[in-house]
């Protein structure tokens, strides 16, 4: 996978919150599992560095969109994150908006992605 094939920072900037909220909507996870899930979902195109992920998690928590709790029942002390009601509502709102946005981009890019055949 070339570096150029990864999603650009600009693309990620506006969508990382939504991605993380989506991952936590599936089930509670700790940071490492969230990163792993994002990597699985995005294939080689999506690489969210730990140095980006943890501040983002703390910010989402400060905004009341997710909450955390420490758990050491697995023998290892870990901080688990889960979605709050506010976070779920936000996710639903943003998901609808993103769907419309993606459709819009898709329509605009259609001629570029599938150009009409050139006249012979």
């Amino acid at each position: 996978m070339k570096e150029n094939d990864k999603f650009s920072r600009d693309l990620l900037r506006g969508s990382l919150d939504l991605m993380v909220l989506s991952v936590l909507a599936e089930e509670p996870r700790y940071g490492y599992l969230i990163q792993k899930r994002l990597r699985e979902a995005g294939g080689d195109s999506l690489e969210v560095q730990a140095g980006t992920l943890y501040p983002l998690l703390h910010r989402l928590q400060s905004e009341g969109l997710i909450r955390s709790r420490w758990d050491d029942t697995t023998g290892r002390r870990r901080k688990w994150y889960e979605l709050t009601v506010k976070g779920r509502k936000q996710l639903e709102r943003q998901a609808v908006q993103w769907r419309r946005y993606a459709d819009c981009i898709g329509r605009l890019l259609a001629p570029v992605m599938n150009p009409p055949p050139e006249p012979v």
């Binding site: 940071g31 140095g51 943890y54 501040p55 870990r78 901080k79």
Partner: protein, 375 residues
Amino acid sequence: MSEREFETYLTLLCRLLRLDADQREAIAGELRDHLEERLTELKSLGVAHDEAVRLALDEFGDAAGLASEFSSIARNVKRRRFMRITVGSTIAAAMAAMAAMALWPEAQPGPAPATAVAQAPQAPKPAEGLAPQPGASAPSAPASARPLERRLSAEFIETPLRDVLEFIADASDVQLYTNEKRLAAAEISVDSPITIQLRNVRVDMLLDLTLAQASEQLAYVMRDGIVLVSTQEDLEGAAEVRIYNVRDLLKLPDASHMQAMPGMAGEGGYGGMSAGGPGFGGEGMDAGYGASYGMGMGMMPGAAAPSRDDRAETLVQVIRTAVGRGAWREQGDYGTIAIYEGLLVVNHNTRVHQQVERLLDMMRSAARAEGQPQP
């Protein structure tokens, strides 16, 4: 390379985090767990141990940047809890600043008879018997790019001094260093409760009010772009020399023109100060921050025009009287001011330098409003 690298990184991170001990430990614990798990995964993929340690650390980036992000998030939480920021647009700030030019904070240092507020040449009121000044140019807009001249609104209710200063630094985008050792030595707590609720207040004034509320001994200076907060005693050593070119102000004016110039200290002999002086500038300065003064580099109507040296000396006297609140060597303090060939050499702290600059700006604006020659 070993996991000790993790601990070194986390220790450094914790040192850089501007958070309390519990928060630092929680972040370190969370990141340590991630690093260890990532190390295990990378090794299971066949990556050599040392390389895996390096890769795991690389994914967190540099500790300073990460610490800054965590600290910033924590500050935002505090801010949401205590404060409301409304840093105005540049234009709005400039407009408001012009309106408030007459209101200059004079909280410190040291005792002084009265606050000197120089004339604000903006918007003379026709009702005062002065003809409107159609040609009057507004004073040059204060450089809103100067962080301490920005405006913001803040609501502090029993907020610890440390948090207030952090907020001010954040909102005005300045680096602020508090010499906590000096404060402790002076028995001033960084947790002193501050209660201030103000809208659209200049950062420097907010700093003045904040420090004054915490202790009369506190002061600040700006050095190399950093606001240093400490005790006055400590900061007195932080004086710096600045040179102001005032040749334009020392040009001899047309006496007949000067006679008509409003706002002059007509009764005060050659220039100097005239308490509550008439004319524009006297208005709008009743903001409860000390007494107001009308001020002018004037001369007695009809009197012989003073020499350039006389005017230079007058300018020095005006500055010494109008700013610094008596903090000049001649008045028993440490600041010095001298003039040489139209260059004003001032050795004082940042606050006084700002006041000198502002005063000179206002004098130039006033002169410009009257069609005086400008550089």
